[in-house]
């Protein structure tokens, strides 16, 4: 953090009032105020004398501090100031600009514009939400129908088309909703430890098939990665990357190339790291004129090649806003017919290192690596050494066997055999069975591959491979992959297994959901887990049904939020207020499509215990139910 002297040096002589806020006990507090601000407040703290509403918008850690395009006006006495806000490392800087005259002249216009803009955002948000709810039903019912046996082929084809079309519709709606949320300042970043390897692999899983489908050459350039865990909002960061890549793929004709560059480097003397991605394509490019409008919502370049391509014109605007929100920068260069290159740089705090247990378990173990790509092999060796392991690198099948022979004559032994999927001198599918036979069934053989494991698993597990670690290789993936074969991991897993036996049999749930189709989906999914379910159609009925039953009759209440008569939040509050034996303890889980931080916060404030996003995801629902209904509970 910047110290007082540094702040004084920079802002002390500035004529405009400036205050700096720093994180403090879950909020932001003023840590500096320059002489101009002192003069304005007569020695008092500027933060203390401003209206509460304005103060909260500056100090709330979860509020969108960085400008969202809307001005913030601060009335002090008979003057009105515009608050210019920006981030400086982890400080929030506010600079006050006296706009009294201008404000008075345009007050009604400004207010009208602000109201209109808010109304637009609110309308879009509500509309998107209202359309998303039935879309969720369509998607859910289609999935259930697809799971049925004996569906006629023609019907199956129709269902698959509905699935594809509704998926596309949902993604468009999500974009509109996102944009309106961003514009209305409702997006709050959920920063947590984000695994860069997971992030990249999730991106590649989406993007590679798209590139293949478009007959494009996809190249990944992985540069220095000084830190594999970041304190970042994974969902939003992935969204930025995917938007750029999807755009590149969309606007690059077959045979072209899309290149993703990723590097994470240390920012000198700040404790932060810079996450940089470069997305370069050889596509249709943009005109000089359009480059300046590319980040404006709903803007699309008017040319025949673009008009044929589906899109809302929101992707780049969302991307730019998200990058701004994360305190980063986005730049681009492009030439018509030659392609486009986007560069994004975002500073993040490094995340936690979870590899201590892995390092302890793997320390000193011998491992054999077979890779005939010298550069990649050396990189893997270097990672293995960083984990405390003793790797041997074989670059041919004969050399790999030599290492195994040498080890067989020594008192040591190999912990595992790592091999890439393709080498030049032997078919790995013929090589692995021999190694498996020789080393026995308990010896870990692990495949490193750029391919999707689900596509190659059948073949390689039969050839002798036990597990798979995706390429490009990350320390976390390699460490956790290898750790899973250690005694320490097995012991830990055994302990966890003792606590994690799934059994919902005999458990009873009260489900409050007004939408009939959504109710049907929930009942079907819950029924699959052997739960007994009672249903009601609004919050009022939920409270009444709960009140009429004996204590401990229900094990859990699933509550929709937006319902007629009484909404879910009010119903939860009402239940908690009841003077029943279990009314304070019975788990109440919210179900809503509004998966935003503030929605979750509101649910919790109303007395709910957890939150499940709609459309219902089976995995998420079961794991949430497991938390409350599992045997260990």
């Amino acid at each position: 953090m910047k110290n007082f002297d540094e702040l004084t040096r920079i802002w002390g002589d500035v004529a405009l009032p400036v205050i700096a806020l720093a994180p403090s006990s879950g909020t932001f507090a003023a840590v500096y105020q320059n002489a101009a601000a002192d003069a304005l407040c007569g020695g008092a703290d500027l933060l203390d004398i401003m209206p509460a509403e304005c103060r909260e918008s500056l100090t709330d850690p979860e509020a969108a501090f960085v400008p969202d395009g809307l001005p913030l006006f601060l009335p002090l006495g008979d003057r009105v100031y515009s608050v210019v806000r920006f981030l400086w490392e982890d400080l929030r800087i506010c600079m006050l600009n006296d706009v009294t005259v201008h404000y008075r002249e345009n007050e009604s216009t400004v207010n009208n514009a602000l109201m209109a803009n808010q109304a637009k955002s609110s309308f879009l948000s509500e509309m998107s939400h209202d359309i998303r709810t039935p879309m969720g039903a369509i998607i859910g019912m289609t999935e259930i129908a697809l799971l049925q046996d004996g569906v006629p082929t023609r019907v199956l084809e129709c269902l698959n088309k509905i699935k594809t079309a509704s998926g596309h519709m949902m993604s468009l709606l999500n974009k509109v909703l996102d944009m309106s949320r961003i514009e209305s300042g409702k997006i709050i970043l959920q920063e947590e430890d984000a695994d860069v390897a997971d992030l990249l692999h999730e991106i590649l899983t989406v993007v590679k098939p798209q590139a293949d489908a478009g007959k494009l050459n996809f190249i990944l350039n992985l540069g220095e990665v000084c830190c594999e865990s970041l304190q970042a909002d994974t969902v939003r960061l992935k969204q930025v990357c995917l938007n750029l890549l999807s755009n590149a793929i969309k606007f690059t004709p077959a045979g072209g190339t899309v290149e993703l560059g990723l590097e994470i480097t240390r920012l000198p003397s700040s404790g932060r790291v810079l996450f940089r991605i470069t997305v370069r394509d050889t596509g249709i490019g943009m005109s000089e004129e359009f480059i300046h409008r590319v980040f404006v919502p709903f803007e699309r370049e008017e040319k025949s090649t673009v008009n044929k391509i589906q899109g809302t014109g929101l992707g780049m605007a969302i991307t730019k806003n998200l990058v701004d929100l994360m305190g980063g920068t986005i730049t681009l260069s492009s030439r018509p017919g030659q392609g486009t290159c986007f560069q994004v740089g975002i500073p993040f705090l490094p995340g936690s290192d979870h590899l201590a247990a892995c390092r302890t378990a793997l320390d000193g173990k011998h491992i054999l690596l077979y890779d005939d790509d010298a550069g990649r092999g050396e990189r893997t060796v270097s990672i293995l050494r960083s984990l405390g392991m003793q790797p041997d690198l074989a670059t041919s099948s004969l050399e790999a066997v030599e290492y195994i022979n040498d080890m067989a004559f020594s008192p040591e032994e190999y912990f595992a055999f790592l091999t890439v999927e393709k080498v030049s001198d032997v078919d790995i599918l013929l090589f692995l069975p021999q190694i498996r036979q020789r080393m026995g069934s308990a010896f870990p053989i692990i495949l490193l591959s750029e391919n999707d494991w689900s596509q190659i698993e059948y073949v390689y597990t039969r050839a002798g491979a036990d597990a798979f670690i995706p390429l490009p290789l990350f320390t976390t993936r390699l460490a956790t992959g290898l750790f899973s074969f250690t005694d320490q991991f097995r012991e830990r897993q055994q302990e966890e297994a003792e606590h994690a036996a799934h059994n919902f049999h005999g458990k009873r749930i009260l489900l409050a959901e007004d939408n009939e189709i959504n109710r049907e989906i929930a009942v079907e999914l819950l029924g699959m887990a052997n739960l007994r379910i009672d249903t009601v159609v609004n919050g009022q009925e939920a409270v009444e049904r709960y009140s009429r039953t004996a204590p401990d009759h229900y094990d859990l209440i699933l509550m929709d939020i937006q319902m007629p008569v009484m909404n879910g939040l009010d119903a939860a509050r009402a239940i908690r207020k009841l003077d029943f034996a279990d009314s304070r303890d019975i788990p109440i889980v919210a179900m809503t499509a509004n998966a935003f931080v503030e929605d979750i916060r509101n649910s919790m404030a109303a007395g709910m215990n957890a939150h499940i996003a709609k459309p219902l995801d089976m995995e998420q629902m079961y794991s949430t139910l497991e938390m409350f209904l599992g045997e260990s509970r």
């Binding site: 099948s397 066997v401 195994i404 004559f409 001198d425 021999q434």
Partner: protein
């Protein structure tokens, strides 16, 4: 052994007799021709019988090998041992198949002694397969045999708990055989090989082990390890370190002294091979000059017996000229002054090869013949490699010569016709970039097409035993092995001036035009400027195989019309569409040619066998 096993081996021996060209009478071409086909029909019925025997008796047993009763396992071991037949290697792929199955059995049943024994024998079977494609080393067998020998050898850790002396012997033998994987002459390979032999010898000479298992033939093991180490002489040329030189010298001395001992005890002359090795070692450490070395080798060559088909005979008659040529090539002066001597050696070698009985035409013989090509020295006015190659083909397998000759003639016809109707298809061949230039060089191009057709399949030489003596249907292992023949052919042809131009045809004649099929997969047609000639040869070679009836030369396998229809059906995929069209339009010419083609080729083959002077080229 079981009855079917005995019968199988009898049939194999019978096939060896029937396949023996060296015993054919050449006085009457027609009679020779008819006799060959008659024998091929008999061979074919024996192959059918043997295939059925394996299908009905052996394969069901191997399918269920894990649960076989002990007496069945014993019979399999006996069968495999009989197939090895004291080093004759009657059927190496089948031997490997049985040992591999026994290995699975031993591993599954946790029979440690049998496991160690079968690791050794499966490794040895792989070594035989490896030797077949030794010019392409390391190959698909190298790491596998290293893995098996390594695993067997690693039981040295459990030595004291193993009671059977034979099993202990397999551990020592496996440890020594780990050196067999290193055959190429690079320094790195040499160092690895020396390290393995050093480790093995350290244990073999350790009195503690001698005391633990006194019944093992320790002297033989040590002697064989020294023998193997002397083969590292080849590595000394790639700047070996002083330790390596000392060790190789030490082994050469050890082996030679042992030879002298045996000689004194038996009254027989010491082995020429080890005598030569001893002299070579002296040359490498500066005791002998090159001239002295060459003179000693000449003297040993003159002392050889030309009717000795043992390993010693093969060495003296075939390998020694190759070694002589290798050392001659070090010095330009000697290369010129000894030209006549080397020519004489080559001629004598050829005469010897012609007389080798089929039963002796095993892997060792072929390996030694191939060595001749690896070190072949060609003189402008001396014996050319192409002549030597053809004489070898013709004298060991006249039917193959017939196929080569027909492919050559058809390639020449097709090229000439292409020049007439679509010369643009040949642009770039022999660096001729215009149609005028191509037409001006018609004779040269026609000769090129003929030679490329004649030599395109020369890699088959390496598989002579497999193609002429396999007494059953081929297994997939044989098919895979055979796929190496383009690479081996290319490596032979590229070495000498007289055949270099044909190397591309050898490399690419089995790779499909569209790049989606055939072999080798690594073949890149775009990097071969003479690819049109390779396309022509590939087409003509395929056409000849479609016609070829191995049992009756008078009845082709497919009629001309059927063969042409087949070519059309593969146009654009396997074969170049332009050449297919031209070839099919040549139907009247082809019909006329085919009327006498086979018999003419046979006559040529026989005349060639009679007279060494005229060349079919």
């Amino acid at each position: 052994m079981k009855d079917y096993q005995i019968r199988y081996i009898e049939n194999l021996n019978r096939i060896l007799e029937l396949a023996d060209v060296s015993r054919e009478s050449l006085s009457d071409t027609e009679a020779f021709f008819s006799s060959r086909y008659e024998k091929r029909r008999t061979i074919s019925s024996l192959i059918t019988e043997n295939t059925a025997l394996l299908r009905q008796e052996l394969f069901p047993a191997l399918d269920d090998v894990i649960t076989l009763p002990p007496e069945e396992i014993l019979s399999l071991r006996e069968f495999a041992s009989a197939l090895r037949s004291g080093g004759r290697e009657l059927d190496i792929v089948l031997t490997y198949t049985i040992h591999n199955a026994l290995l699975v059995y031993a591993r599954h049943q946790k029979k440690r002694d049998l496991l160690i024994e079968e690791l050794y024998w499966t490794g040895m079977s792989l070594y035989s397969l490896h030797s077949l494609i030794r010019p392409v080393a390391p190959n698909r067998y190298t790491w596998r045999m290293q893995n098996l020998f390594g695993e067997a050898a690693s039981y040295i850790k459990e030595y004291d708990s193993i009671e059977d002396p034979g099993t202990r012997g397999y551990i020592h033998r496996s440890m020594a055989n780990m050196a067999l994987s290193y055959m190429t002459g690079t320094r790195e390979m040499g160092e690895r090989k020396m390290r393995i032999i050093r480790n093995s010898l350290r244990i073999l000479t350790d009195p503690v082990y001698h005391r633990k298992t006194p019944s093992l033939p320790w002297d033989t093991y040590i002697y064989k390890s020294h023998q193997e180490r002397t083969t590292s002489l080849a590595f000394l040329r790639s700047s070996a370190d002083s330790q390596m030189i000392r060790e190789v010298m030490e082994s050469a001395e050890y082996v030679w002294q042992k030879q002298l001992e045996i000689s004194r005890a038996t009254g027989a002359a010491p082995s020429t091979r080890w005598h030569v090795v001893y002299e070579l070692a002296h040359y490498h450490c500066g005791i002998l000059t090159l001239e002295q070395l060459l003179t000693r080798m000449e003297r040993l060559f003159l002392e050889r017996r030309t009717d000795d088909y043992s390993m010693e005979g093969i060495y003296c008659n075939i390998y020694l000229p190759a070694v002589y040529a290798e050392y001659l090539s070090y010095n330009e002066q000697y290369k010129q002054s000894k030209k006549e001597v080397l020519g004489y050696m080559y001629r004598m070698m050829l005469a010897y090869v012609r007389t080798v009985p089929a039963s002796c035409m095993g892997i060792s013989m072929i390996r030694n013949i191939m060595m001749t090509f690896i070190n072949f020295i060609e003189y402008p006015d001396g014996l050319k490699q192409r002549d030597l190659l053809l004489r070898l083909v013709v004298c060991r397998n006249p039917e193959t010569f017939v196929y080569f000759h027909m492919t050559a003639c058809l390639s020449k016809l097709l090229l000439t016709e292409t020049l007439r109707v679509r010369p643009e298809l040949l642009l770039g061949v022999l660096d001729l970039d215009t149609e005028e230039a191509l037409l001006a060089q018609e004779n040269r191009l026609a000769e090129f097409a003929y030679e490329a057709g004649m030599f395109h399949d020369i890699g088959q030489l390496n598989f002579t035993q497999m193609t002429t003596q396999t007494g059953r249907s081929w297994m997939s292992e044989e098919k895979e092995l055979y796929k190496y023949h383009p690479q081996i052919g290319e490596s032979i042809l590229r070495r000498c001036e007289s055949t270099r131009l044909c190397a591309d045809a050898a490399a690419g004649h089995h790779r499909y035009y569209d790049g989606k099929g055939g072999y080798p997969e690594t073949y890149d047609r775009n990097s071969r400027p003479n690819q049109p000639v390779t396309d022509i040869v590939a087409l003509c070679s395929y056409f000849c195989r479609l016609l070829d009836n191995t049992l009756d030369y008078k009845k082709p396998h497919l009629s001309l019309e059927e063969a042409l229809a087949q070519l059309r059906s593969e146009s654009g995929a396997r074969l170049h569409p332009g050449f297919v069209r031209i070839f099919c339009d040549m139907e009247p010419t082809l019909r006329h040619y085919l009327e006498t083609a086979r018999l003419t080729a046979y006559r040529l083959a026989v005349s060639y066998l009679y007279d060494e002077t005229p060349s079919p080229i």
